[in-house]
C-alpha cells in the first residue's frame, strides 16, 4: 500500500547526512626526495560519505521503482490524498501496519546489505594497505 515510504524516509535522511557531512579535504601533496617535485597521492581508502551514498542510491532507486509499482496498482495517485488507502480509516490502519512490517523490513534488509558491502570494502582496503609497502620494498 505504501511500504516504499519507509525506505524513502531513510533515503531522505541518508541523503541529508551525506550532503551535510563534509568530506575531509586534506592536502596529500608532498615533496619527492629524489626529484624534488611536489607529488600528490590520494589515500587508498574510500571516505565514509562516499560509502553512505551507496546506501542512499540503493534506497532512492528501489523507492522510485516501487512507487511506480504502486502507481500501476492504483495505490498511489497523482492527486491528494496521494495514497488511496488514506481516504478510508480502515484502509489507513492496514496501510500503517504494512508500513511498520513490510516497509521496515525493506529498509532493514537494504541497510544490512549495505553494512555487508562496507565491511567487505574495508577488508579489501586494509588488505591493499598491508600489501602496498611490501610490494614497494620488493621493487
Amino acid at each position: 500500500m505504501a511500504c516504499f515510504l519507509v525506505p524513502t524516509a531513510e533515503a531522505i535522511v541518508t541523503t541529508v547526512i551525506a550532503k551535510t557531512a563534509k568530506e575531509e579535504k586534506k592536502d596529500y601533496t608532498h615533496i619527492d626526495a629524489e626529484t624534488g617535485e611536489a607529488v600528490s597521492e590520494k589515500p587508498a581508502k574510500m571516505s565514509f560519505v562516499r560509502k553512505l551514498k551507496w546506501l542512499s542510491n540503493m534506497l532512492w532507486g528501489g523507492a522510485v521503482l516501487l512507487c511506480f509499482e504502486h502507481l500501476w496498482h492504483g495505490e498511489v495517485v497523482p492527486f491528494p490524498p496521494f495514497l488511496t488507502a488514506a481516504s478510508d480509516p480502515a484502509d489507513t490502519a492496514v496501510m500503517l501496519h504494512e508500513m511498520s512490517t513490510v516497509g521496515v523490513c525493506m529498509a532493514a534488509l537494504i541497510t544490512a546489505v549495505w553494512v555487508g558491502m562496507v565491511i567487505v570494502s574495508s577488508v579489501i582496503e586494509n588488505r591493499e594497505e598491508k600489501e602496498a609497502p611490501v610490494a614497494s620494498q620488493e621493487v
Binding site: 525506505p7 540503493m58 509499482e69 537494504i110
Partner: protein
Amino acid sequence: MTLLITIFAAVVATLVWYTKPALRDLKVGVLCWMFWGASLMWMIDAVFEFSELGADYFAPAGADMINDGFLGFAVVALALVIWTVIVLVSDPRGTVKAAITKR
C-alpha cells in the same frame, strides 16, 4: 514475475558494470543501484506474501502473471529512461554539449 525480471536486470547491469570499464563513466552504476534496491525490496514483499499464501504463492493465475510480467518490463523501461536522462544531463563525454555548440 516483477521480482524475477528486476533481478535479471540487476545481474545484467552489474555484469556490464564489471566487464566494461569504458561504460562506467556512462553511469551504468545508477542502473545497478536502482535494480538491486528494487529487487531487495520486492524480495521482502515476496517473503511476506509467501508467509500468507504458502505454496499457492508459486502457482499464480495466468492473468496475474501476465500483469506482473508486463509491470516488470515497464519497471525496467522506467529505470532505463531515468538512466538515459541522467546520462544526458550529466553529459560525461561532452557529446550533448558538442552537439549543441557545433555549428
